[in-house]
């Protein structure tokens, strides 16, 4: 008998093993749902899969009685737009500030501590201030994402700059580069893969902030719908929405990886540096 650590499952069993926990969860759900329905035919907590499928289908293909929108799509569009805007702006701020803090000792001294402190403030606690400063429109939702995501990105990217081999910066200077040139031609391209990495890690938190913002004040969006129907324990809406959000996050993550590999091939080649 080889040691457990040396037992490598083959392709087929790997796939099977990966599916197993999902199947198990599905099974537990189906059984639990059936049991609750048997106890109380109106139970809303664990609706059967068929009901969730029907509801999802209705949400995706039938216009809403109240607004005439196809709810799933209008919610998704609204949320994704906020998410993209929030992450996009965060990325730009993160790159700029991260580069400045990492490359310029003066900026590092001035903003380093500030960013560290800001990153510790729980954004949810300062929501009232956000509302009043940024209003209740799209802006405040995007701003919540930015506030939640940017400090981590800035810290991460400035650390990446500081961890760059000094030799490269010196080398660039011996090639005649000014600070600006070092920034845009040497440092910026090299931290881009890390930005991709950082954005991947931030998809989760970004969705979190988005949903929280939408839960508090909104009239469309994935988070809005979840918290609205929460009033009626409409798990047949909430659960498909959660699955949908998870799927979106997963696709987004995958897209970022794909993009990174395509645009920064050098960073993914083995043994670079």
């Amino acid at each position: 008998m080889p040691r457990a650590m040396n037992v490598v499952p083959n392709r087929g069993s790997r796939l099977l093993l990966a599916l197993l926990p999902f199947l198990l969860i599905a099974l537990i759900y189906v059984v639990g749902s059936a049991q609750r329905r048997a106890d109380n035919p109106d139970d809303k907590l664990l609706p059967p899969v068929s009901e969730m499928v029907a509801t999802s289908k209705r949400l995706a293909t039938e216009p809403d009685r109240r607004s005439g929108d196809y709810l799933l799509w209008s919610d998704t569009a609204a949320s994704l737009q906020r998410l993209a805007l929030g992450l996009g702006i965060s990325a730009i701020i993160g790159l700029t500030l991260g580069l400045a803090i990492g490359l310029l000792p003066i900026a590092g001294a001035g903003f380093g501590t500030l960013v560290a402190v800001l990153s510790m403030i729980p954004p949810m606690a300062v929501l009232p201030v956000l509302f009043i400063v940024f209003g209740l429109g799209e802006l405040s939702k995007v701003v919540l994402i930015i506030i939640g995501v940017t400090p981590t990105l800035v810290r991460d990217l400035s650390l990446e700059v500081q961890n760059m081999p000094r030799e490269q910066l010196i080398k660039a200077q011996t090639l005649g580069a000014s600070t600006w040139q070092v920034a845009i031609r040497v440092v910026l391209p090299q931290i881009m893969p890390r930005l991709i990495q950082g954005l991947r890690l931030m998809i989760g938190p970004a969705f979190l902030f988005l949903i929280s913002a939408e839960a508090i004040a909104s009239d469309v969006g994935l988070g809005y719908r979840i918290f609205l129907v929460r009033r009626y324990l409409s798990m047949d809406v909430i659960l498909p929405y959660v699955v949908w959000i998870t799927l979106l996050a997963y696709v987004f993550d995958y897209a970022l990886v794909w993009f990174g590999r395509r645009v920064f091939p050098w960073a993914y080649a083995q043994g670079s540096r």
Binding site: I170, G176, W266, A269
Partner: protein, 257 residues
């Protein structure tokens, strides 16, 4: 003509004396090898020339002039590692030097300017034997090829002084021999002053026209950092048999380890 002068140079970090009383004139076109034990201050010596470090006493002069206290295009460098930019292809790495000089804001070249620069770059890449690899990223190159690229990159700026800090230390003996065969004709052709730090005595003797050894002549076991390194040997290697330039100054006070 780009003579490097060290005038009574001391380097100290707090209490620790790294280099003391360095006096040296390096004539233009010299290929100077520096040897010495680890921690002797060889890299510090190079950093002084690079402008990364300021002497705590004394002065380092280029043609009698003190030079700016930061690295610049007149002094090129090749490190043991991290010497090329991983995000640029071989061509991009060499091209960068031209782009930086010609375009302060975007640091990119277009049109015919770019064409000229590419041509010059390709010639250099050809010269270091990387012709067929111009479009590869450094990660696809072996260690020796990366160092050749670093040399081409440095030569693009036609620096008056080229500094090499153990440039071939990470290479296996075969590749190292190839590099030696490459560097000598390049140096001949470009007439640069080269200062090379190495741990390999054979390399030092094989390439250089002059060799200095840095070491601490006094070693006090109680306070090892109270005495800095000096030049303990200085050999002219252009004569048929190696002849000391300053003579044998080791000896004197030598407290045993």
């Amino acid at each position: 003509m780009s003579t490097l002068s060290f005038r009574n140079v001391w380097v100290e970090y707090g209490n620790q004396v790294v280099l003391e009383r360095i006096n040296l004139e390096i004539a233009s076109g010299t290929f100077l090898s520096i040897v010495g034990p680890s921690g002797a201050g060889k890299s510090t010596f190079l950093r002084l020339i690079l402008g990364q470090e300021k002497p705590s006493q004394g002065a380092v002069l280029l043609d009698g002039q003190p030079f700016p206290a930061e690295p610049g295009p007149d002094r090129g460098i090749v490190f043991q590692r991290y010497s090329v930019f991983p995000h640029l292809t071989v061509l991009g790495n060499v091209l960068l030097g031209y782009e930086l000089a010609a375009s302060p804001f975007t640091a990119r070249l277009f049109g015919s300017e770019r064409k000229d620069a590419v041509e010059k770059s390709r010639a250099l890449i050809e010269a270091v034997g990387l012709g067929p690899h111009a479009d590869k990223y450094p990660s696809a190159l072996s260690g020796g090829m990366q160092q050749r690229l670093a040399i081409a990159q440095a030569l693009a700026k036609q620096p008056r002084v080229l500094l090499l800090d153990e440039p071939f230390g990470a290479l296996d003996p075969g590749t190292r021999a190839q590099m030696h065969a490459l560097i000598k004709p390049l140096w001949h052709e470009h007439k640069t002053t080269i200062v090379m730090v190495t741990h390999d005595i054979k390399e030092a003797f094989g390439l250089a026209t002059r060799l200095i050894a840095l070491d601490r002549p006094r070693k006090d076991p109680q306070a090892p950092e109270r005495f800095g390194a000096r030049i303990t040997y200085d050999l002219d290697l252009t004569r048929d048999s190696a002849v000391p330039v300053l003579g044998f100054i080791r000896a004197s006070v030598h407290v045993a380890q």
